[in-house]
């Protein structure tokens, strides 16, 4: 069982929801927001093991190259150019292997180029995984795919990156249920609609958590009701929560918030029709 936590917009509380729920029911947590991973700040896993993530990039053997430029022509990402020889702009390379496949003289070999890392550790006996993209590297996708590849069928909560682009699609592939975290503001509503469109497109069942709720009657709640979207929980607009968050503390340390997440969890279990 894979449960993903996402939101159109950043800063709505994805990490708060995913770390607290994962810890509450003691299941595996994975932080797929590899551009700004923050989950470990709250879960504080121990015995962290780190592994480099690389992508294969082409290397041209000058002795074999006949300067046919086929590799340059096939590259869809403009990563290869030909002057008097073939030059690689490595940060544009997606590591797809098309250049190697098209080369008639087998002049292209591939070398691994590191773009980030994956860390694993344990918060008590709970397994925690997190990916980090190296700063100034543009491509988060390969790290996310690798992280996803490390999951088996044990229940896992996936903390996604903000937005709705390819970096959110990758963690969502194969997910059984999605939690969309939003805020009761016009910005939040605008971005929630984008997230809803995405999970509907991918045919993933989902529910919404409204964070920073100050009044019951708001545009986001109304949208959910009108559109038959299941609101599985709300988190109050509360300075105490902001303070606990700022210190890097889990909210479930406090009994009243623990109750709140327990209720959310039972709503999720009801929605997916099994207990976790």
């Amino acid at each position: 069982m894979q449960i993903a936590v996402l939101s159109g917009k950043g800063g709505t509380g994805k990490t708060t929801v995913s770390t607290n729920l994962a810890k509450l029911i003691n299941v595996r947590y994975i932080d797929c927001d590899v551009e700004e991973p923050n989950g470990f700040i709250f879960l504080k896993p121990q015995d962290i093991k780190s592994k480099e993530v690389s992508i294969p990039v082409p290397y041209v053997d000058e002795d074999k190259c006949i300067h046919c430029k086929k590799c340059v022509d096939i590259c869809q990402f403009n990563a290869l150019v030909h002057t008097d020889r073939v030059i690689l702009f490595e940060k544009l390379c997606h590591g797809c292997g098309a250049c190697r496949a098209v080369c008639p003289t087998m002049a292209i070999v591939e070398k691994d180029r590191p773009i980030g890392k994956i860390e694993t550790g344990y918060s008590d006996d709970m397994e925690c995984l997190s990916g980090t993209l190296n700063v100034t590297e543009p491509m988060a996708g390969p790290i996310i795919s690798k992280l996803k590849g490390m999951i088996d069928d044990k229940t896992t909560i996936i903390d996604c990156s903000p937005g709705s682009s390819c970096n959110v699609v990758k963690p969502l592939l194969g997910v059984d249920y999605a939690i969309l975290v939003t805020e009761p503001t016009e910005f939040g509503l605008h971005d929630l609609k984008i997230a809803v469109e995405l999970v509907r497109k991918m045919k993933i069942p989902f529910g919404v958590i409204i964070n920073r709720m100050s009044q019951e009657d708001n545009a986001t709640s109304k949208y959910c009701k009108d559109d038959n979207i299941n609101i599985i929980g709300t988190i109050p607009f509360d300075r105490d929560i902001a303070v606990m968050y700022s210190k890097g503390e889990l909210l479930i340390k406090d009994e009243k918030y623990k109750k709140m997440f327990t209720d959310i969890m039972s709503n999720i279990e009801e929605a997916i029709g099994c207990s976790l």
């Binding site: 159109g8 917009k9 950043g10 800063g11 709505t12 990490t15 927001d33 551009e35 700004e36 923050n38 700040i41 096939i74 869809q76 990402f77 997606h94 590591g95 797809c96 292997g97 098309a98 496949a101 098209v102 993209l133 700063v135 100034t136 543009p138 491509m139 988060a140 996708g141 795919s145 990156s161 903000p162 937005g163 709705s164 682009s165 390819c166 970096n167 959110v168 699609v169 592939l173 503001t185 016009e186 910005f187 605008h190 971005d191 984008i194 469109e197 995405l198 497109k201 991918m202 920073r212 100050s214 545009a219 607009f237 300075r239 902001a242 303070v243 968050y245 700022s246 210190k247 890097g248």
Partner: protein
């Protein structure tokens, strides 16, 4: 002069501040680089005067009549995007490696529209923005296009205010390259400090002048001190500390920039920051 507002993490107040600057500046050109979830137009309002489909990616298409299901493409594809002669468009990176190995000429790359670029005329000048199709590839390239569009509405001497994207990856790099000043909004939390350091590295890498502003600084004064000390040690100007102010939420819901609320503490500080910023842009 191009000023980009970034934050590492989302939800730190980039758009609130960008919208305020848009109101405070007389003749600036606005640019919303957050193509995944653009919000600036919601506050600024106005009328869309131009919209163009943006072709940002290619996707493989298999001709079922020619395909012999030899699966050479399946073996080649590193993104697991082809199964039984059918392309999963959400997984396809558009690399064309499959076309190379197909002996039956059954696969063609087709252009894919990944969003729209839009020019909105607001009461405070031109806003260049985009609406990406959900789940699309290549938001970085789309950001570059949105910026090009903005530049076509002004000259080099004009002031450009760019609402940046969250994170440190491709879209952020496309937002900041070539800018003169990056105003980094930091939230005083453990994760905020972490995100700040990462996004600062991006700004430094591109040799853009960083300026820092702490939002909701009174939520955790201890971390605020850490951020101040960090800025001082690195010789980065901390040009403002915005207090936690519930009027901000009200302003978002009333779709008005916070600077229009006279008694708001946050608004007062944002006006101060804008004044200080203008000293850097002279």
């Amino acid at each position: 002069m191009q000023l980009v507002i970034i934050s590492g993490k989302g939800g730190t107040g980039k758009t609130t501040i960008a919208a305020s600057f848009a109101y405070l500046s007389e003749n600036s050109i606005k640019c919303d680089c957050d193509v995944d979830a653009s919000n600036l137009h919601i506050v600024l309002g106005g009328e869309d005067i131009k919209s163009e489909a943006y072709i940002g990616a290619k996707v493989a298409h298999v001709d079922g009549d020619k395909c012999t299901l030899c699966r050479a493409c399946e073996d080649m594809c590193r993104y697991d995007a082809i199964k039984d002669g059918v392309v999963d468009e959400l997984k396809c990176e558009g690399c064309a490696a499959c076309t190379v190995v197909c002996d039956y000429d059954a696969i063609k790359m087709k252009d894919e529209v990944t969003g729209d670029t839009i020019i909105t005329k607001t009461s405070k000048g031109i806003l260049s923005r985009a609406q990406m199709i959900v789940g699309a590839e290549g938001s970085g390239k789309l950001v570059t296009d949105v910026r090009k569009n903005a530049l076509s509405y002004g000259s080099k001497d004009d002031m450009y205010i760019l609402d940046g994207t969250p994170g440190v990856g491709c879209a952020v790099m496309a937002s900041v390259t070539g800018c003169d000043i990056a105003l980094i909004i930091v939230e005083p939390s453990q994760s905020g400090l972490n995100d700040f350091k990462r996004v600062l590295s991006v700004v430094e890498f591109f040799e853009i002048k960083p300026l820092v502003c702490i939002n909701k600084y009174d939520i955790n004064e201890e971390v605020t001190k850490d951020i101040s000390a960090y800025c001082e040690a690195k010789n980065i100007d901390l040009i403002g500390k915005i207090p936690f102010d519930t009027t901000v939420e009200k302003s978002i819901n009333e779709l008005k920039p916070i600077v229009l609320y006279e008694n708001s503490m946050a608004a007062k500080e944002i006006k101060n920051i804008w004044k200080k910023l203008n000293d850097y842009t002279k």
